[in-house]
């Protein structure tokens, strides 16, 4: 524990150091190098100490009568590993990517502070330190979002982010207030010992879902996420998407599984329902989007939904006493969190290299990059396959575990859950299929096909550091997918500590298979599948090359008899998504298409316009925003009264309160 705190203090030290070095050219390598080293150290500590007994430290910081409590338990270790591996790979990537930063002064001081704050959230063991670290994390990431503040819409993204972050902290503040009760002891130990009445527990749970969900991006609290994540520099986007959402999920798991005590079955409902909606809607948003980084941000929302589904299932199983199934679902949630960190970091790194190479972020202006950037496109492809849950990559392993826990759900005694969970499973399957479509579209439009703009034609491959970070993450996606048993066993102490059950130990199962419940029920062997994929693919490739010609022939493409088709005639991101838009988005987003045909004889091209409405924005945020605006206008004239009027307000309020007290006191 002291080592962890020393490392976190070291990150803050790096943040301070960067202020001194800010004018030097060597500032960026020094800062990112130091972050890389410290994150690797923290990651190693977390990986090694997950099975050990919790250790606690109290520092005389913060509120004088409370102090700052820090605790390293298995759950904290699991998330520390996720945070710091993501931090380390982002720092490695930034060693190369950071050179292209126009204003490093706006990034360098906040980057280590952001990492430190996320670590601090996870090890905090009293409500005050937790909220302090949480708010520090929000503010540091806000500063990073505002790094490119001169670009259009960045200021708006920062504004929306700030509002939603305040809302989330506000909700968590009240949640902790309810959980701690009136006696004012805000250590997590006291909160664990304090039991709430069912009504208050429900309120605290809703507040926790709002607080953690607004940071994680649960629909309908997600509005800031697709604005803010893409606005930041790419390594920060990777951190925000891959890591900060995990910190929010940590907050939910910590409150719902640990602090609130024994769950009731209906506690799982908010997580299950919102998670299901988030998973399906999030990726549907992604399919409607053409900005590469926004696609990735929406896909993050989807994955957060998937993790929340698994966490909700674990709550339901825990409440009904199925400890083994609860451990399965919770392990799946943690495992998917880890996997999402790996592939989403790779994807954002890939997006960053594309932006550096071409200056374009819109997929409709890219294309054909696989020829100019072969290595990074390979990493991007691997991560796309992983996020689309294709075996043998890691995304498949964790989503398969989640489906296994859904298949156990008929054992649940509650009729409501028996009906609800399969429906959630359907949403999850839908989301998985959409995700595959989404990443076929993202990879295909960006890297395949013909080059759409000159900028894309002049792209060059990224530097070594960036490629190293991408390749390491992509290789880990494959490695974890092939050998998921190691990770599952490693996560068991965290699951056991929270739900008092555990999955079968995977190390003892022959042939490196994984078995979620029992061998007679289902098992999965990543290695076997990997071997089969490699063998069949090489066999096919060999056969083609042996029995056909070895040479690569280039010929004019088939133009259906219409000569002179330009690059605009190839599939675009919008046209690839059209079938899904017509089937699903007409309901979800009121999507409409309008064709403008010029009259005969007119040589103007026909125009196809599409219209989308965001129901969440229209029905939830727009009314709130207009109500705030209206009331602000109504109250505005109060700003310009005389001193005497203001005094009259005070006087009348005072007399009113006194009369109230006199009559009913």
């Amino acid at each position: 524990m002291p080592t962890v705190l020393a490392c976190i203090a070291g990150l803050f030290g790096v943040s301070a150091l960067s202020l001194i070095l800010i004018r030097q050219r060597a500032a960026a390598p020094i800062v990112y190098g130091a972050c890389l080293a410290i994150s690797l150290a923290l990651c190693a500590i977390a990986v090694l100490s997950i099975g050990q007994a919790p250790s606690q430290t109290v520092l005389p910081l913060g509120l004088p009568w409370l102090g700052a409590h820090f605790r390293l338990d298995p759950l904290a270790c699991a998330f520390l590993a996720i945070i710091n591996f993501g931090g380390a790979s982002a720092s490695l990537y930034a060693l190369g990517y950071g050179r292209h930063e126009a204003e490093p002064r706006r990034v360098l001081p906040f980057y280590p502070a952001f990492l430190a704050a996320m670590n601090l959230v996870v090890v905090a063991a009293d409500a005050y330190s937790f909220l302090f670290a949480w708010e520090l994390m929000s503010l540091a990431s806000w500063a990073l979002v505002m790094a490119h503040h001169r670009q259009a819409k960045t200021a708006y993204a920062g504004f929306v982010y700030l509002i939603m972050a305040s809302l989330g902290t506000f909700a968590l503040l009240f949640a902790f207030g309810l959980l701690a009760g009136a006696h004012g002891d805000y250590t997590f130990e006291a909160i664990r010992a304090h039991h709430l009445a069912p009504g208050l527990a429900g309120l605290a749970l809703v507040l926790a879902v709002v607080g953690a969900g607004s940071k994680a991006g649960l629909v309908p609290l997600h509005v800031w996420l697709p604005l803010a994540h893409p606005a930041a520099p790419s390594h920060v986007s990777a951190l925000m998407s891959g890591v900060m959402t995990k910190v929010a999920i940590y907050a939910f798991i910590r409150i719902a599984f640990d602090l609130m005590g024994t769950p009731a079955w209906w506690w799982s409902l908010p997580a299950l329902l919102l998670g299901g909606v988030t998973a399906a809607i999030g990726v549907l948003y992604a399919l409607m989007e053409t900005d590469l980084k926004r696609v990735l941000a929406y896909s993050t929302i989807e994955n957060v939904g998937i993790i929340f589904i698994a966490a909700g299932l674990a709550l339901a199983f825990k409440a009904s006493g199925y400890a083994g199934a609860a451990a399965l679902a919770l392990t799946a949630a943690l495992f998917h969190g880890l996997n999402h960190m790996l592939f989403k970091s790779t994807l954002f790194f890939g997006a960053g290299t594309v932006i550096v190479a071409t200056g374009k972020q819109d997929m409709e202006q890219l294309g054909g990059l696989i020829h100019r950037m072969p290595v990074s496109s390979a990493a991007f492809l691997a991560a796309s396959m992983a996020i689309s849950a294709l075996p043998p990559f890691n995304g498949f392993a964790s989503e398969w575990l989640i489906f296994q826990s859904i298949l156990v759900s008929p054992q649940l005694p509650q009729m409501g859950l028996k009906l609800l969970v399969p429906a959630i499973g359907v949403l999850l399957a839908l989301a998985a299929a959409f995700a595959a479509a989404c990443f076929v579209r993202a990879f295909g439009t960006t890297y395949l096909g013909r080059v759409r703009t000159d900028a894309a034609a002049k792209a060059i491959e990224a530097d070594r550091w960036s490629l190293a970070a991408m390749l390491i993450c992509a290789a880990l996606c494959l490695a974890v997918g092939v050998l998921p048993g190691i990770v599952i066993d490693w996560l068991q102490p965290a699951a056991t500590a929270l739900v008092a059950g555990h999955m079968p130990p995977q190390a003892s199962i022959p042939w490196l298979s994984i078995v979620p419940v029992s061998a007679s029920r289902s098992s999965y062997n990543g290695l076997l599948l990997f071997g089969f994929v490699v063998a069949s693919a090489s066999l096919a490739a060999m056969t083609v090359h042996r029995f056909a010609s070895r040479t690569v022939r280039r010929a004019p493409f088939w133009d259906c008899g219409y000569p002179g088709l330009g690059v605009v005639a190839q599939y675009s991101a919008t046209s690839l998504a059209q079938p899904i838009r017509r089937v699903f988005a007409t309901v979800a987003f009121a999507a409409q298409e309008q064709v403008e045909m010029p009259p005969p004889g007119d040589k103007r091209p026909a125009v196809l316009r599409r219209f989308l409405r965001d129901p969440v924005w229209d029905f939830m945020y727009a009314p709130i925003a207009s109500a705030v605006g209206t009331s602000a206008t109504l109250l505005n004239h109060i700003q310009f009264l005389t001193i005497r009027r203001y005094l009259s307000f005070v006087f009348v309020a005072l007399v009113f309160l006194l009369v109230f007290l006199a009559l009913w006191g």
Partner: protein
């Protein structure tokens, strides 16, 4: 506590309320300043009596401040300002005097009713003192609300402050009374300065003193 001591404390506190009513009634500025001086004098006497009764010599400091600063210096300064600004002929009331007096009577009744009920457990002296002090505060606030002139608002504010000090000294065992009264005196000084800055701003749309120079036709 002897009945005589109680009666004398009661007399001073009641006197303060009475003088507050005189303030409400007085609509010319120079007599109003005299009434303020009387108000502060009564406060000083009351605090000194409390110091005597409670055996707390530090309260004499508060009494001396009330007497010297608020009963002599500030009224003199205000009088000079009023004369210099030629306000001493003005008569100003925003709400009619009779109406204001009626409202004041209602406020005193309200504070009596409330405070005597709320402080049922306290000593008799403290109860009376707090109830009368709240009346003084409310009357001062009423005065600030009903007057337009900045000087009479300053006077209203000072009578509020007198009421607060009365409450503070009457309640036995209240800590830092002396310090609070000193702090309030400084606050008053700032308010007096602030009001005049406001007046400058209202007249010249700025608190920049160069504006005054420009207005007087001076050049640098």
């Amino acid at each position: 506590m002897s009945p005589l001591a109680f009666d004398i404390a009661h007399m001073f506190a009641g006197g303060l309320v009475l003088v507050s009513f005189m303030m409400l009634y007085q609509d010319r500025l120079l007599p109003l300043i005299n009434v303020l001086s009387l108000h502060s004098l009564l406060l000083a006497l009351s605090v000194a009596w409390q110091a005597n009764v409670q055996d707390k010599p530090d309260l004499y400091v508060t009494a001396v401040i009330a007497l010297g600063f608020k009963s002599i210096i500030i009224p003199m300064a205000l009088r000079r300002m009023v004369v210099r600004m030629e306000l001493h002929r003005e008569i100003e009331v925003a709400v009619g005097t009779g109406m204001t007096m009626l409202l004041g009577v209602g406020l005193v009744a309200l504070s009596m009713d409330l405070m005597l009920r709320v402080t049922a457990g306290a000593s008799a002296l403290a109860r009376e003192d707090v109830a009368l002090a709240l009346s003084v505060v409310l009357l001062g606030l009423l005065m600030m609300v009903t007057r337009r002139n900045a000087v009479s608002q300053v006077i209203g504010f000072m009578s509020i402050e007198n009421g607060l000090i009365l409450a503070g000294t009457g309640a036995r065992g209240m800590p830092l009374v002396v310090e609070i009264s000193v702090a309030f005196s400084i606050l008053i000084a700032f308010i007096v300065i602030g009001i005049f800055l406001f007046r400058i701003r209202e007249r010249f749309d700025t608190v920049d003193l160069h504006a005054l120079d420009r207005f007087r036709g001076e050049r640098r």
